[in-house]
């Protein structure tokens, strides 16, 4: 009997703690200024099916690449398009892009300052360590699809594939990279639309 009571108290404490933790979500389920979880929001995803550019970093113990993610990056960037991996551009590219969100390739993608800073920091910290030079000479490159790296990676893709209505734009990674959303751009995951 005594054991039962102790057990009950312990469970009650756990439930109470869980509820305290979840309370901020009740009033602000997408609260941009909510610092409650922000310190531990960066996380590492799917270690077995990621990767393309970096040869030695961002690898898990078994040698496969990892996609570093951040909750706000995923929510905010992913609201209008795929949340592109940070390693696709250099830190300087991300820094410049994140200061011009009110005109983001022709659209207003502005964010409140706290959210913009968190996402910008995340992107810069996990950016490509390579230059990711622009193919048109205007630095820093802001469109991933206009980097020399992107163009050389896609130089075997036929013009008719780019023109396919299923592709629509080179920014539409998932049209061919079937696991792009989870960060995998491996050859074996590529399926060209017909």
């Amino acid at each position: 009997m005594l054991k039962d009571i102790r057990n009950y108290q312990w469970l009650l404490a756990v439930v109470a703690l869980t509820m305290i933790i979840s309370v901020p979500a009740v009033y602000a389920d997408d609260d941009d200024d909510d610092d409650f979880q922000s310190s531990s929001r960066n996380s590492v995803m799917s270690s077995s099916q990621v990767g393309d550019d970096t040869k030695s970093r961002d690898r898990s113990k078994n040698g496969s690449r990892v996609l570093v993610t951040n909750e706000k990056w995923k929510d905010e960037c992913g609201a209008c398009h795929m949340a592109y991996p940070a390693r696709f551009l250099s830190a300087e590219s991300w820094r410049v892009m994140m200061t011009g969100l009110d005109n983001h390739f022709g659209s207003d993608a502005s964010l409140d300052a706290a959210t913009a800073t968190e996402i910008s920091d995340f992107l810069q910290q996990n950016a490509s360590r390579k230059k990711r030079k622009s193919a048109n000479g205007i630095e820093p490159a802001l469109r991933i699809s206009e980097t020399r790296w992107f163009k050389s990676e896609h130089d075997e893709v036929a013009a008719r594939v780019w023109k396919s209505p299923k592709v629509k734009s080179p920014s539409n990674c998932a049209a061919c990279h079937t696991k792009a959303e989870s960060g995998s751009f491996r050859e074996r995951d590529i399926k060209m639309p017909k």
Binding site: M1, S22, D29, D33, D108
Partner: protein, 140 residues
């Protein structure tokens, strides 16, 4: 006996805790009411919101390439599609998507962005209220 009690108590607490997550910070009607206050303050001859005017506003272009319906479609009860990226957009009508117009920060963020994209300026309380009045008439 005590065990049964403790288990049912635990379930009750968990249930209450979970159902609290469904409570929204505000309702679309709250928003409509606060827009009405704002409109009354800004416009001496404010005569209320009109769902018909909201529908016209929603479906027409305002000088730029896009209207609201370019992405949200002509039927706000269905899933929309981003005009540029094709990314699916959940239905805008609160009757179909209960999350809509319940988060003040999201409302502020998206009105600013979308009005700038469609009109090259912020929307007035009258325009926002008309559109919301229109969206609240949609039932299917």
């Amino acid at each position: 006996m005590l065990r049964t009690l403790s288990i049912s108590g635990l379930m009750l607490i968990t249930f209450v805790g979970l159902s609290m997550r469904q409570v929204y910070a505000q309702t679309p009607s709250d928003l409509l009411a606060s827009l009405q206050i704002e409109a009354t303050k800004n416009m001496p001859n404010f005569q209320g919101f009109s769902a018909d005017r909201g529908e016209t506003f929603f479906k027409m272009k305002h000088g730029n390439d896009w209207s609201c319906s370019s992405c949200h479609t002509d039927n706000p009860a269905v899933t929309g599609k981003h005009a540029k990226t094709d990314k699916p957009i959940k239905p805008l009508a609160p009757f179909v998507n209960a999350e809509r117009f319940t988060n003040p920060k999201k409302i502020k963020k998206w009105f600013k962005r979308n009005c700038n994209d469609v009109l090259d300026r912020l929307c007035t309380p009258q325009e926002k209220g008309d559109v919301l009045a229109y969206l609240l008439t949609i039932r299917k």
